[in-house]
Symmetry: C2
Subunit: 205 residues, 2 copies
DNA sequence: CTGAAACATGCATCACTAGTCACCTTTGCC
DNA sequence: GGCAAAGGTGACTAGTGATGCATGTTTCAG
C-alpha cells in the first residue's frame, strides 16, 4: 500500500503528468490574475484546455493546487538562488546577489509570487511553512557566516525575519509595482542599509 | 448638490451612524476570522444583529466595507503612533517606540491587521494607497531627522520601504504568530540591525 | 487484435450568496 | 397626535460554482 493517507489522487503514469502540469500552470495564471477566490475551477480547466471533471482526477480542490504552487515556488526560488550565488562570495556579496536574483524572480513570475502571498488568506499553514522553511535555511547560512566572521554576531533569527521582510516589501514595491524592477542604484541603497544601518557613524555601537 | 459622486449611501443622522459602525465592527471580525471572500454579507449582518437589507442602506458591497476598514486602520495607526512617540525623542529612539507601538497594535487588533493585508487581493489600489500614504509621511520624518543629523543620509525612499517591510514581517511573525508579541530582547535585536547593519565594525563604510 | 486500466468528458445536481424590494417601525418635529 | 423621513426587515430572485458521475476515448501489454 503506497500510504496514500490524505494525499489525494496524485498517482498517474504518462500523459497524465503532462495534463496535471497544464492544470497547475493554468491555475498559476488564473490565481495570479484574478486571485484565488475569484478564479473558478472552470477558469482553470478552460485555461488548461481540459474538461472540468479532469481537474478532480488530479486534485481534491483548489486549496490543494495552491499548496502545490507555493511549494513549487519554494523549490524554484531555492534552486535559482543556489545557481545565482557563487560559492566563494562573502556573506554581504552573497546577500546582494541573492536580493538581486530574488527581485528578478519576482518580476518574471509575478503571478506565482502573488499566489504565494495570497496563500496566507487561503490556508495560513501553507504560508507559514513557506517562510519557516526559508527562514531555517537562511539562519544556518548566516550562522556559518558569523563563524567565518563575515558578518558580526546578533540575534540571527530576528535578523532573518527582518531580511525576509525587506525582501518581501522590495519584491512588492519594485518587483510587482515598478516597471523596471530594482535598479543598481537602489540595490546599492538596500545594501548600504543592510551593511551599515541608519545611525551616523559616530553613533554606532 | 452634495457631490455624492461614486460615494455610495453614506448620509444618515443619528442611530444610523451607530448601526453603520456595528456593521463595520462585525465586518472586521468576519473578515479577520474567515477572510474577505469566505465571509458573506449575511455573516456580517448576523454579527451586527441587523437584517441583510440593512447592509445595503450603508454600503454598496463588501469591497466598500473593506476600503473603509483599511482607511480606518491607517488613521488609527497614525493616531496611535503620534500619541506613543514623544516629540523630543531622537529618530532612533522614535523608531524604537514606533516599532514597539506598532507591534502592540497588531497584537491587539489582529483581525484588522489581517484585513489590511488581504486588501491586496481584493482591490490592490486600496493596499497601495495605504502603504504609499504611510511611506510619504515616513519619508518626510526621516528627511527631518537627516537635517537634524540624527541619522545619516541615504536613499530615504528605499530605506522607508525597507523599514515598512521590516515592520510588516515582524508584525506577522511576532504580532500574529507569537503568543507574547515582540519581547524587549528581540526589539533590541531589531534596533541593533537598524542602527548598525550586519557588517563587522571593521567592514563598515 | 483485444481488453483493461488510465484518462478524459461535460452535464446535472446541490448549496449558497449577492442584491432587491415591498412593506413595517421608530423618531421627532409641528 | 399626526405624519413624513429615516431606519430597518427578511423573503425572494437570479446566478454562480463546486463536485459527482455515467459515459466515452486512449494507451499498451500480451
Amino acid at each position: 500500500m503506497p500510504s496514500s493517507d490524505s494525499a489525494s489522487l496524485k498517482p498517474m503514469t504518462a500523459r497524465g503528468e503532462a495534463t496535471r502540469q497544464r492544470i497547475l500552470g493554468a491555475a498559476e495564471e488564473a490565481f495570479g490574475k484574478s486571485g484565488f477566490f475569484r478564479a473558478s475551477i472552470s477558469d482553470i480547466t478552460r485555461g488548461a484546455g481540459v474538461a472540468q471533471g479532469t481537474f478532480y482526477l488530479y486534485f481534491q480542490n483548489k486549496e490543494e493546487v495552491l499548496g502545490e504552487l507555493v511549494r513549487h515556488m519554494g523549490r524554484e526560488l531555492r534552486r535559482m538562488l543556489t545557481h545565482s550565488i557563487p560559492q566563494d562570495l562573502s556573506r554581504l556579496e552573497a546577500e546582494r546577489e541573492g536580493i538581486a536574483a530574488f527581485m528578478r524572480f519576482v518580476s518574471q513570475r509575478q503571478n506565482l509570487y502573488r499566489v504565494v502571498q495570497e496563500s496566507l488568506f487561503v490556508d495560513e499553514q501553507i504560508y507559514r511553512d513557506y517562510y519557516m522553511d526559508f527562514a531555517r535555511g537562511y539562519i544556518s547560512a548566516l550562522e556559518k557566516s558569523v563563524e567565518k566572521s563575515e558578518i558580526r554576531d546578533g540575534n540571527l533569527e530576528v535578523w532573518v525575519w527582518i531580511l525576509m521582510g525587506v525582501g518581501h516589501f522590495l519584491g512588492l514595491r519594485y518587483g510587482l509595482w515598478a516597471e523596471n524592477g530594482l535598479g543598481d542604484a537602489e540595490l546599492d541603497a538596500v545594501m548600504d542599509f543592510i551593511r551599515n544601518g541608519i545611525a551616523r557613524p559616530a553613533d554606532r555601537d
